[in-house]
């Protein structure tokens, strides 16, 4: 197989192997390398201007067969059979449909069984595979790194570039190992790992790096958990995060629509087994996290690095040495209307959002359901459950999860990005506070004036029950009947259930 262009000498990291295998042309004299792109994911928001650019230049999409589009950011999660009420949203969706037709791009539209958040759809179809390069005009493309792919977000100019050339000029990234050793305690999940990583290295700590998540705690995660972690690499400033492919990866992929079949499968797996970082390969930076010590995590501020254990208190900016961090913390507390020293578990919420490309896959929904099953949500708290894709929705319904959510008092919606960024009508009102399983707690992200606390699905569920930020551990202390499955099948190892 010729994918491996002459390998560099010496032991290499996973990221370096994928890079080397996609080198179309090595850069000289400070020019970037030209890197081949295996898979280009497209959605309605960042593509219209790119298609316009192609039209203006009279260029085709070079490889429609390596390109796939879906509608997710703008789409409503209610009444999906009716015309989209917001005219500009409708225009953007219609523009994608026209462009896909004109340029011969496969598109999964609202109502189609393969529609959904672009980062849920790619893996689900088996298109996201180990050792490939994946790009999308969306920063959470890092999600696909969970398969051992090199996957990163790009801007609209680069979207046009990939459409026209199937390549990108790129400077090599530096590599950073994030070593997570030990075992997570029950109630602690992949989301808590990544929130702890970001709190540790900061929102700029990963800039210029590809992160490789390693160690026993990562190996023990399912693919859904690994995707949650890689998804938020960008929140640490890194464009890409990766996990070496292993049996868990192969088991997830086998039999999926676009996974290799027959003899191809054998050849592919043999190649994928060569990808993990070699013994003795050197990373440019290393970080260590002790999984045994982790607790359910929560953010208190307005960037994803501003997080602490849920059992902690709102920090005092005066105790922060770095002047920018201190100023940012002061501003954040003002925006979040929080006082230093307040126990986070005393913070009341108005809404709970269960969804987004971080946490909307079937295991996330199962985890949430395992906690809320047989219970009622707290009075006055609005709870929204938004599956990541139409397939996930169907799967959840086949398992009866929709009934669990509805009996709990949650709204069960159609698939899309929804309240993660509030481009559609799913938004917080000014001043509303939300426990959200999404990825960004930026000012106004979920709606102008809205206040976001990033949490795991388990914390979101416990919070929806108690009305204040809570972990599943608090439910046990309440003496309420425990969930049927106290430890959701979330942090366990083994093959993916399908």
């Amino acid at each position: 197989m010729n994918d491996a262009i002459a390998p560099a000498s010496g032991p290499r990291t996973l990221a370096e192997k994928v890079w080397d295998a996609h080198l179309v042309k090595k850069g000289e004299d400070g020019t970037p390398d030209l890197i081949y792109i295996d898979l280009h994911l497209v959605h309605e928001v960042t593509s219209p201007q790119a298609f316009d650019g192609l039209r203006l230049a009279g260029r085709p999409v070079r490889r429609p067969d390596l390109t796939i589009a879906t509608e997710d950011h703008n789409t409503p999660t209610l009444d999906i059979d009716k015309p989209i009420a917001d005219l500009t949203s409708r225009t953007q969706i219609e523009t994608l449909r026209r462009n896909a037709k004109e340029f011969g791009i496969r598109l999964h539209s609202l109502g189609d069984k393969e529609q959904g958040i672009v980062h849920v759809v790619g893996p689900q179809l088996g298109l996201t595979q180990p050792g490939i390069t994946v790009v999308c005009g969306d920063s959470h493309t890092s999600t696909h790194g969970a398969f051992g792919a090199m996957a990163f977000g790009i801007g609209t100019s680069e979207v046009e570039h990939v459409m026209a050339t199937q390549t990108l000029p790129l400077k090599p990234f530096k590599t950073m190992a994030i070593n997570v050793e030990g075992s997570l305690r029950p109630g602690v999940t992949a989301k808590d790992i990544i929130l702890a990583v970001i709190a540790k290295i900061g929102t700029g700590g990963g800039q210029g790096y590809v992160l490789e998540y390693r160690g026993s705690a990562i190996r023990a995660l399912s693919m859904d958990g690994r995707m949650t972690i890689c998804n938020m690499s960008i929140e640490a400033g890194a464009r890409a995060g990766m996990v070496a492919p292993d049996e868990t990866t192969f088991a997830y992929l086998k039999g999926r629509a676009h996974a290799p079949q027959g003899a191809d499968w054998v050849e592919a797996v043999a190649y994928w087994r060569t990808l993990p970082t070699d013994e003795g390969a050197v990373f440019d930076a290393e970080v260590f996290i002790d999984a045994d010590e982790l607790e359910p995590f929560v953010t208190w501020g307005t960037n994803p690095g501003q997080g602490v254990s849920l059992s902690d208190v709102v920090p005092d900016p005066a105790s922060i040495d770095d002047q920018h961090e201190r100023a940012a913390a002061e501003r954040a507390l003002e925006y979040m209307a929080l006082e230093p020293g307040t126990p986070l578990k005393q913070v009341k919420v108005d809404a709970v959002f269960m969804g987004s490309c971080t946490n909307s896959r079937i295991e996330d929904l199962r985890a949430f359901a395992s906690i809320v099953q047989g219970r009622k949500k707290a009075d006055g708290v609005r709870v929204m459950v938004v599956p990541g894709s139409a397939r996930v929705r169907l799967e959840a319904e086949a398992e009866g999860l929709d009934k669990v959510f509805e009996e709990f008092g949650a709204e069960w919606r159609f698939a899309g990005c929804s309240m993660c960024l509030g481009m559609n009508p799913d938004q917080l009102a000014p001043g509303e506070r939300c426990a959200s399983t999404s990825n960004r707690n930026f000012e106004g992200r979920q709606g102008k004036g809205g206040r976001t606390h990033l949490v795991s699905p388990l914390v979101a569920a416990a919070t929806a029950i108690r009305g204040t930020l809570s972990s599943p551990w608090d439910l046990e202390r309440d003496g309420a009947p425990g969930p049927e499955t106290p430890v959701p099948a979330y942090s366990t190892s083994g093959a993916e259930e399908k």
């Binding site: 960042t46 570039h161 996974a259």
Partner: protein, 206 residues
């Protein structure tokens, strides 16, 4: 793309760190299908505050934005660059940029000049003391000057060259069309393809 060598104008001190792209342009403004007309969307939430720096009359018409560390973090939206450009900014100065933002800026002729944090403080002091002072960003010399102050900035050589020459990236890459075709001819056949559409091979799996 228009060539850039020097930009001279007034500068706005934005004393904030972690200015993420959701602050630069909130998602509700991303529904447009054009590349222009985003000037009103720039810093939309912050501009509701009459005291916000861009609302002060002395900083109207500025073409250089001088911000705290980690400018342009978060989302990949190139709309952030279009909004800054539409508002009239030609240069953003910061001690650290979000990677995707910096890349987007370079593609769209917005100069992202990385300056050491101590020097950002010095620039802020000068432009706060005299908001009307002419600031010059010199891409050839890689310097930012205001009055008696001149500080160096960093930008990668390739982006600098492209900005100086006003070169279109796609055009440059297509010069290597043969290398791309050659690469494709050796690509393993089992690598994933989106077309033709396939259904799952085994029943019971999705």
């Amino acid at each position: 793309m228009e060539k850039i060598s020097t930009v001279t104008g007034t500068a706005v001190p934005l004393r904030r760190s972690n200015v993420d792209t959701d602050q630069i342009i909130p998602a509700v403004f991303l529904k447009r299908v054009t590349k222009t007309g985003f000037d009103d969307a720039l810093f939309h939430a912050w501009r509701q505050d009459p005291e916000f720096i861009l609302n002060r009359p002395e900083y109207r018409g500025a073409s250089i934005l001088v911000a705290g560390p980690d400018f342009g973090t978060g989302s990949s939206r190139e709309h952030a660059v279009w909004a800054l450009r539409d508002y009239g900014f030609r240069v953003v100065v910061s001690s650290r940029f979000g990677d995707i933002f910096r890349g987007n800026a370079g593609k769209q002729g917005l100069l992202a000049a990385q300056v050491a944090y101590e020097d950002i403080e010095r620039i802020w002091e000068v432009i706060e003391a005299d908001p009307g002072i002419a600031v010059t960003v010199d891409l050839v010399e890689r310097t930012v000057s205001a009055g008696a102050l001149t500080v160096p900035f960093d930008i990668d050589d390739y982006t600098r060259w492209r900005l100086l020459e006003g070169l279109d990236d796609i055009g440059l890459t297509l010069r290597d069309e043969q290398a791309i075709a050659e690469f494709e001819s050796h690509r393993a056949a089992w690598r994933p393809k989106t077309l033709p559409i396939r259904e799952p091979a085994e029943s019971g799996s999705l």
